[in-house]
């Protein structure tokens, strides 16, 4: 089986994010980046399929920053090789999808995996766009997958229930949490990953479809104070309303 997993490099969910001086991008200074958590489910599923049916897993990313670190993570999990497409500037979803489609259109992948969304910009668009550009079927937010030859049965989470769909390869699948339990990085695999190839592919120029005008941080809510109904807490409420909030 020839399997592709498209991955993205996103800020660690625990890092504090600041907006850059242009008001349109994230200030990457001091930000730690990780492999998008949903992509781990996609990778795990592809690697399990390979382990069961044989074949190869390729990891691919399009990024304006050096993303070889997360490709090494993918290789350590068990991908065999990786493709890195370096964008000249932060690409929009359309540019990313075009680049993926363009670089893989002649490679005969049976399944193309994605995470259901990347947790930085949450656009949700790339899996369907790539499928459309390659003219293959796609199914999103998959929480259970069965592949038998060219027949693919996917279960999706829908509001209040499950939906089961059938499609045939080649196809695109976006992975939901629960699809599997991603494996943890093991020492010999990390060492082997250092020797696996990462192919650099030139960026395919296409105009962006959307333009970011601004990004902003949510307004900080005021921190509340929890007080009980003891006399001292009541005194504190009165004091606080009087001295801090100055409303009485």
């Amino acid at each position: 089986m020839n399997l592709l997993v498209c991955v993205s490099r996103v800020p660690d969910t625990a890092t504090k994010i600041f907006v850059g001086p242009d008001g349109k991008t994230i200030d990457s200074k001091g930000v730690k980046y990780i492999l998008n958590p949903y992509d781990e489910f996609a990778l795990e599923e592809a690697i399990r399929l390979k382990e069961k049916n044989g074949g190869e897993v390729t990891a691919l990313t399009v990024s304006a920053d050096d993303a070889t670190d997360i490709l090494r993570n993918a290789l350590a999990m068990g991908a065999d090789s990786a493709i890195f497409i370096k964008a000249p500037a932060e690409p929009d979803s359309y540019q990313v999808a075009h680049n993926i489609a363009n670089s893989v259109k002649d490679k005969n992948f049976d399944l193309i995996f994605f995470g259901r969304q990347s947790v930085d910009f949450d656009s949700f668009q790339i899996p369907s766009m790539v499928a459309e550009l390659l003219n293959i079927p796609s199914v999103s937010v998959v929480s259970k997958l069965e592949v038998n030859g060219s027949k693919v049965i996917a279960e999706r989470d829908i509001e209040g229930g499950k939906e089961t769909v059938e499609l045939s390869t080649p196809c695109a699948i976006s992975a939901q949490k629960g699809l599997n339990e991603p494996r943890y990085p093991k020492l010999p695999d990390i060492m082997k990953a250092k020797k696996k190839p990462i192919e650099e592919v030139a960026f395919f120029q296409v105009d962006a479809a959307v333009e970011v005008i601004s990004i902003a941080l949510p307004v900080n809510k005021r921190v509340g104070k929890i007080l009980g109904d003891s006399d001292s807490d009541i005194n504190e409420i009165v004091r606080s309303l009087h001295e801090d909030a100055k409303v009485i």
């Binding site: 990780i34 990085p185 093991k186 020492l187 001292s232 807490d233 504190e236």
Partner: protein, 493 residues
């Protein structure tokens, strides 16, 4: 200052994480240094006993009040003066809050006690230590300054390196000019991590007397800490073993290599140089298995290590670790590795989950627990380790053993369902203490004496030394108001 007088609002301050319960009449929650001093002074004037409260994560009953007042530092959260590798904090800042403050500036507090919700004041009062103590020592070695309040409200400020004892005679003065002249107890401290009684040493630095005092002679109001620049890269690993003897040999080999290599400049180190070495026995792994399915079925024990390194040396260092691990376990290919912050966090959760599970086991099943916190000098560790496996191997009770094996310091916890089991656990506890003492070890390496281990303080040091310590207590606290029932038996005074 917030004052609590209702039973239900006082209740949260009457126990700690040991499941011991006490009682108090009033809780003072000062918001700054002056209010803290005011609370102490007013209790002193009215002869009201005072118990200081940090986060209550202690496991020896030390903050459990014996009547009187609780003085909680939970609102003293100031972090001031940061620079030149130093930071000054008030007692109520938690380890988490300090880390959140330091990390973005590229610094960290090295020792790393596991319970990140504990207060720095509580850490100083118990001389806490943690996983990285293997490389960096206990918190004591990172304390550069203390601002203290004595029972009568006198203020003493001490900076490390300024005031030393003359042999065992110590002279101090308070900010108001009051003079203190005292004779320190003359005794030999064990060559281990240690949190038992008052620190005393020939020509010692005065500041060390107050570190680990468990709230019995001085309130800790402000602390100046030495903080270190974050290392360039860190590799963490959890190695699983299928043979306990080989695990011990592995630990000794990596420990001894690390003790030497940790002295070198990290940039030049291309081999094994661990900053922490932690142990999990099989029952510990079993407690963790439901949450961490990556633990191999065949594993009967595990070792967690971490090493700081310079990025260009990564391949060589990883190769060295892999070769070493392959020498000692058939499960080398299952070694779990963390390189990114996210992976390190997951690994730290693995380690932290254990004491949490132990604590939950305790509270949810309202079981009783007996917990060992002993350490021995490194040359005696193999004997202690084998003794433990002999004693615990055939024990008909539920137990877990884990902890700071790099420091020859393990936590053995025995869970008891009923009084019979508890009696048996206490017997085992006493046997392990006797063995530890026969091997020149300590009865408490990091948790302190509190109210639960007083008997063992006497066993460890003998009556003369403990009575000399009580003299120190009486010297600073003649009215016997601070931390009553902690460290010493009140009847013995």
């Amino acid at each position: 200052m917030i004052i609590k007088t209702e039973t239900d609002t006082i209740h949260p301050y009457t126990f700690d994480s040991s499941n011991m319960h006490g009682n108090a009449d009033i809780v003072y929650i000062p918001e700054d240094f002056d209010e803290l001093r005011q609370a102490i002074k007013s209790c002193f004037d009215q002869n009201i006993p005072m118990t200081f409260s940090g986060a209550g994560t202690g496991i020896t009953g030390s903050r459990v009040p014996n009547g009187g007042a609780v003085i909680s530092t939970e609102l003293m959260k100031g972090i001031s003066v940061f620079g030149n590798g130093k930071v000054t904090v008030q007692a109520g800042v938690t380890l988490n809050e300090l880390d959140d403050f330091l990390r973005p500036q590229g610094y960290f507090l090295a020792p790393n006690p596991t319970e990140m919700n504990s207060f720095i004041g509580g850490n100083v009062a118990t001389n806490a230590s943690g996983s990285r103590t293997f490389k960096y020592g206990a918190i004591r070695e990172h304390i550069l300054g203390l601002k203290l309040i004595l029972p009568d409200g006198e203020i003493i400020s001490l900076n490390r390196g300024e005031i030393f004892a003359d042999s065992y005679k110590l002279s101090l003065s308070s900010e108001s000019g009051k003079k203190y002249e005292l004779q320190l107890p003359v005794y030999k401290m064990p060559a281990t991590k240690n949190a038992t009684g008052y620190f005393a040493h020939e020509n010692m630095d005065a500041i060390d007397l107050f570190i680990g005092n468990e709230g019995t002679i001085a309130a800790i109001a402000e602390i100046t800490l030495k903080v270190l620049p974050l290392p360039e890269s860190i590799i963490g690993g959890i190695v699983f073993f299928d043979d306990a003897d080989k695990l011990l040999d592995f630990v000794i080999e990596i420990r001894d290599m690390s003790l030497i290599n940790n002295k070198s400049n990290p940039e030049s180190v291309k081999t094994i140089s661990a900053r922490l070495i932690e142990y999990f026995d099989n029952p510990s792994l079993n407690l963790l298995r439901p949450k961490f399915p990556q633990i191999p079925e065949k594993a009967i024990a595990g070792i967690w290590f971490e090493q700081e390194y310079s990025t260009p040396n990564e391949d060589e260092i990883m190769g060295e670790w892999y070769a070493m691990i392959q020498n000692y376990t058939g499960l080398s290919d299952d070694t779990w590795i963390a390189l990114s912050d996210k992976e390190h966090k997951e690994m730290a959760e693995f380690r932290h989950e254990l004491p949490l599970q132990v604590y939950e086991n305790l509270t949810e099943n309202s079981q009783k627990k007996v917990g060992l916190d002993t350490a021995v000098p490194i040359e005696h560790f193999p004997e202690l380790f084998r003794f433990y496996s002999e004693v615990f191997g055939n024990l008909p009770l539920q137990y877990v053993i884990f902890g700071h094996i790099g420091n020859s310091h393990l936590h053995a916890n025995i869970f008891c369902q009923n009084d019979e089991e508890y009696a048996l656990a206490l017997q085992i506890y006493d046997r392990c203490i006797d063995k530890t003492l026969a091997l020149s070890g300590t009865v408490s390496a990091e948790h302190g004496i509190g109210k639960l281990k007083k008997k063992y303080l006497r066993k460890m040091y003998g009556d003369k030394t403990v009575d000399d310590m009580i003299e120190i207590k009486k010297y600073f606290d003649p009215k016997l108001l601070f931390g009553i029932g902690t460290m010493f038996d009140i009847n013995k005074i």
